[in-house]
């Protein structure tokens, strides 16, 4: 491990990840700094089973969770108001509208060449979600934080969390289908 090279080797990656999560450049910069300082202090615990980057990203994920914990203490994290619309046009009497059910995605997102471009679309789609929905969605899907822990950390009820995750997934899937998998709205 060579901490003097961390900023140059991993700084931008950590910064982009932090920025995706907290959306505020100065906060993201602070998180990167806290991450690297914590990493230096605990470098004795780095065992080398994973790459240095994976280890640093793991520390950053903890810092991000701490950041949300502070927000959760100050303001209610629950957001059930800003995305009430659960895509009514997709369903007829509760069943998928046959022209508008989920399209076949094939295997496109598995293709390494497409990954960066997919991320770009995904990032745009995440940007369209209400911020709190995007936050809990990424905690769950990217950081693999369990539901009960998210609830404790952000001080939200479990039933509210399930609703928020559901709305985030429904809206995100729809956005990706339109903008990445090329189905432009109604056929």
């Amino acid at each position: 491990l060579d901490p003097s090279r961390w900023v140059d080797e991993h700084g931008d990656i950590l910064y982009r990840f932090a920025l995706l999560r907290v959306r505020h450049p100065e906060t993201a910069e602070d998180l990167v700094q806290e991450t690297l300082v914590t990493a230096v202090r605990s470098s004795g615990r780095f065992r080398g089973q994973s790459s240095a980057r994976t280890w640093l990203v793991g520390i950053l994920k903890h810092k991000i969770l701490d950041h949300y914990r502070k927000i959760g203490r100050e303001t209610p994290f629950t957001d059930l108001e800003s995305l009430r619309d659960e895509l009514p046009e997709k369903f007829a009497d509760g069943y998928w509208n046959h022209d508008r059910g989920p399209a076949d995605w094939g295997g496109r997102a598995d293709d390494a060449v497409d990954r960066r471009e997919f991320w770009q679309t995904l990032q745009n789609c995440l940007g369209k979600l209400p911020p709190r929905l995007a936050d809990v969605f990424l905690l769950r899907e990217m950081d693999d934080v369990a539901g009960p822990e998210i609830c404790r950390t952000l001080q939200i009820s479990e039933s509210n969390l399930w609703v928020m995750l559901h709305r985030a997934r429904l809206a995100l899937r729809e956005c990706l289908e339109i903008h990445w998998f090329g189905r432009k709205g109604a056929p």
């Binding site: 901490p3 003097s4 961390w6 900023v7 140059d8 700084g11 931008d12 990656i13 910064y15 982009r16 990840f17 920025l19 995706l20 910069e29 990167v32 700094q33 690297l36 300082v37 230096v40 202090r41 994973s50 980057r53 994976t54 990203v57 659960e86 369903f91 009497d93 509760g94 069943y95 998928w96 059910g101 989920p102 399209a103 076949d104 995605w105 997102a109 990954r115 960066r116 997919f118 991320w119 770009q120 995904l122 990032q123 990424l138 769950r140 899907e141 990217m142 693999d144 369990a146 539901g147 479990e158 969390l161 399930w162 995750l165 559901h166 997934r169 429904l170 995100l172 899937r173 990706l176």
Partner: protein
């Protein structure tokens, strides 16, 4: 055969959640253990409904993409740490080390 399958699906749908409820349940099942009766009714619906099967597999694909260890390496590259911040962090790291 097609008509028979459609008729079977109609019968299945009488006893299972509708697709709108299924999207909610499919999401929830990713995050917590569902009760056995709910799980059975979901499986029955999924067996009869290709749209809901797709929905479930697309949520799984999204998770796989986002949860992959190297996922962060592919984030769009335009954002960069400002040079002044780099310098500040370098100093903080060397002070802490």
């Amino acid at each position: 055969v097609k008509r028979l399958r459609a008729a079977l699906a109609e019968i299945v749908f009488l006893f299972t959640p509708n697709c709108r409820d299924m999207t909610r349940l499919i999401s929830e099942a990713r995050d917590r253990k569902m009760s056995l009766p709910t799980r059975w009714r979901m499986d029955l619906h999924l067996a009869a409904c290709s749209f809901c099967r797709r929905y479930a597999s697309q949520l799984a694909a999204l998770h796989k993409f986002l949860g992959a260890p190297g996922a962060v390496d592919h984030l769009p590259a335009e954002a960069k740490l400002p040079e002044a911040t780099r310098e500040k962090i370098r100093r903080a790291v060397s002070d802490a080390g």
